[in-house]
Symmetry: C2
Subunit: 333 residues, 2 copies
């Protein structure tokens, strides 16, 4: 019998399709790894090729000039930005249609100078530095009064929509708060009004009590397979202490977060054979950074199945795995 | 300069990424067609293999017994249903988590007895019969008092999430109204309260006035590239007369709709070299079939690009084409 489960944080339904369900090991990627070189002449993200990119907005480096060698994490404006830093904020509206210049900030975080590195295989220290770069750029972008929301995300592999091999993440600052973020905030606010507590804080408490969907439990962060996972191995990392915005994370917690993220990605990497995945940090809009009702978290979505017409038409995802089983699979050594 | 455009019907923003934008002909599929046979011994949808499927719920046939040869369109329960017709409607709730049996109806419409047929290449009459089967099964499913919403959709090709080659569509009747359908209805109702008119009716009027996003204009249906298309060649077919539910379509209009759908799919097929695509009929929940504010429509989404972390995090789609250009491309002979 399939199950309908409702995500307590969004009220969205998902179907856990028992009849089609697969065991966790059915998702192990068959594709063998293609050997990639540590340096590629035409890769704009490789050390030594800094002239192929726009001027860096941040680099952690041991010396040397900006836009030269010697860095270990480097942040640059996206050369083909989805949103551009110049332009007007005025809406262009007819009585019916509304549009505006696509203003915003779109940056790339190059996570390593070495072409064939992967986040889950890096030194802990390197992942810490990547996360500190997220934090530092988040804090810089939020100073721009035009920016309403900052989204940090990573696309790994072709099925996850990446076009460049060299390991990188992205930050986008938008000048609008998207309607589905508004909806997420509204649901969280409604829960807060009902219960006087944050739905994500309660989620952590309930999940810890049950235990069966927990992947890792550390002092400051919890890793779990969400109750209403939309796809196999949908993984959430949530700070245990209430915090609406990623922008409020301390440097110490950022380092702990890096460790937890790396360990989680390594579990997925080693147990599923380097699956393609996206991750995204869901965080409050800048004006809502102090809210009691929202709680930032990172979601990892391995791209193991393809949403199709039913998902497009209903918004209900069909998940062919049980989060309790994938959690157990990830917990096992 | 990228553009932010707001969908008038949903208030969702999309980015039209001018910097990354491609010309319509850049989306022509390179892959050559793999020859498929007209009959496959192990295909459960092929004529003569009726014993491989559950008992048919509908067949248009020239004679012969149920579940035997002689049909041209056949509807069967899905053998691996996402939702199952048996089960309890009771919610299983703790104070925090809510779930229920995945009750619903999941049927497959086999669009042809011949394995290698494609909807855009069929006789007009055959496509009419497929659409009449949608209509007939919609009307049958809506008699089940448990069913709240019926979604008709089609997945064509691997990138669109299909697992079976043989041309088919699907109907799913759900026992819940999904939250994102509620949201779509709310936005439409708000527009109606503001203006006293249906937002889709107004959309048709405005698009016809502008003309630049129209692909086809017929007496009863309009085909267009949506103002805020989320991906290249997102195509809408809308009945010109106000009608909230697909269930209210007349048999005559259903035949006209078939013709328009076939012509539209043929344009995409011939101009983009048989792209993978999904289509879905967006229609009002059953209790809202008479509403003044909602208006059914069919959306075709060719799977030409991959939504990634940014889309997951923001709900804002990045479209690398201009709907005005894809419309012109589709209009040209």
């Amino acid at each position: 019998m399939p199950q309908l489960r409702q995500d307590p944080t969004t009220k969205e339904w998902v179907i856990i399709a028992a009849e089609r369900s697969k065991r966790p090991h059915d998702f192990i990627k068959a594709k063998t790894l293609i050997e990639k070189p540590p340096y590629k002449e035409d890769c704009p993200f490789c050390q030594g090729n800094e002239h192929l990119t726009p001027h860096e907005s941040l680099a952690y480096r041991s010396g040397g000039l900006a836009d030269s060698k010697g860095w270990w994490v480097r942040v640059i404006p996206n050369k083909f930005p989805a949103l551009s830093p110049e332009g007007s904020l005025e809406r262009e509206e007819t009585w019916f249609f509304r549009m505006m210049d696509g203003v915003g900030i779109h940056e790339v975080v190059i996570e390593s100078p070495i072409h064939n590195q992967l986040l889950p295989l890096m030194e802990d220290k390197q992942v810490e530095e990547v996360l500190l770069a997220y934090r530092e750029r988040y804090l810089a972008l939020r100073e721009d009064p035009r920016i309403k929301l900052i989204i940090v995300f990573k696309n790994h592999g072709e099925a996850a929509g990446t076009s460049l091999d060299h390991t990188h993440s992205q930050l986008v600052g938008t000048t609008v708060v998207p309607s589905n973020i508004r909806k997420k905030l509204e649901e969280a606010a409604r829960y807060y009004d009902d219960h006087g507590r944050c739905v994500y804080c309660d989620s952590i408490k309930e999940e810890l009590k049950l235990g069966k969907r927990i992947v890792m439990d550390t002092e400051r962060f919890i890793v779990l397979q969400s109750f209403a996972s939309r796809s196999p191995f949908e993984t959430w990392i949530i700070p245990k202490e209430h915090q609406a915005s990623f922008g409020l994370i301390s440097m110490e917690d950022s380092k702990r977060f890096a460790k937890v993220l790396k360990t989680t990605l390594f579990k997925l990497y080693s147990k599923l054979n380097n699956p393609d995945y996206n991750y995204v940090i869901h965080t409050a809009p800048i004006k809502d950074e102090q809210e009691d009702y929202y709680h930032w978290h990172l979601q990892i979505i391995p791209r193991l199945t393809t949403p199709a017409g039913f998902e497009m038409g209903s918004g209900i995802y069909i998940n062919v795995s049980f989060p309790e089983e994938t959690a157990q699979f990830l917990r096992e050594d």
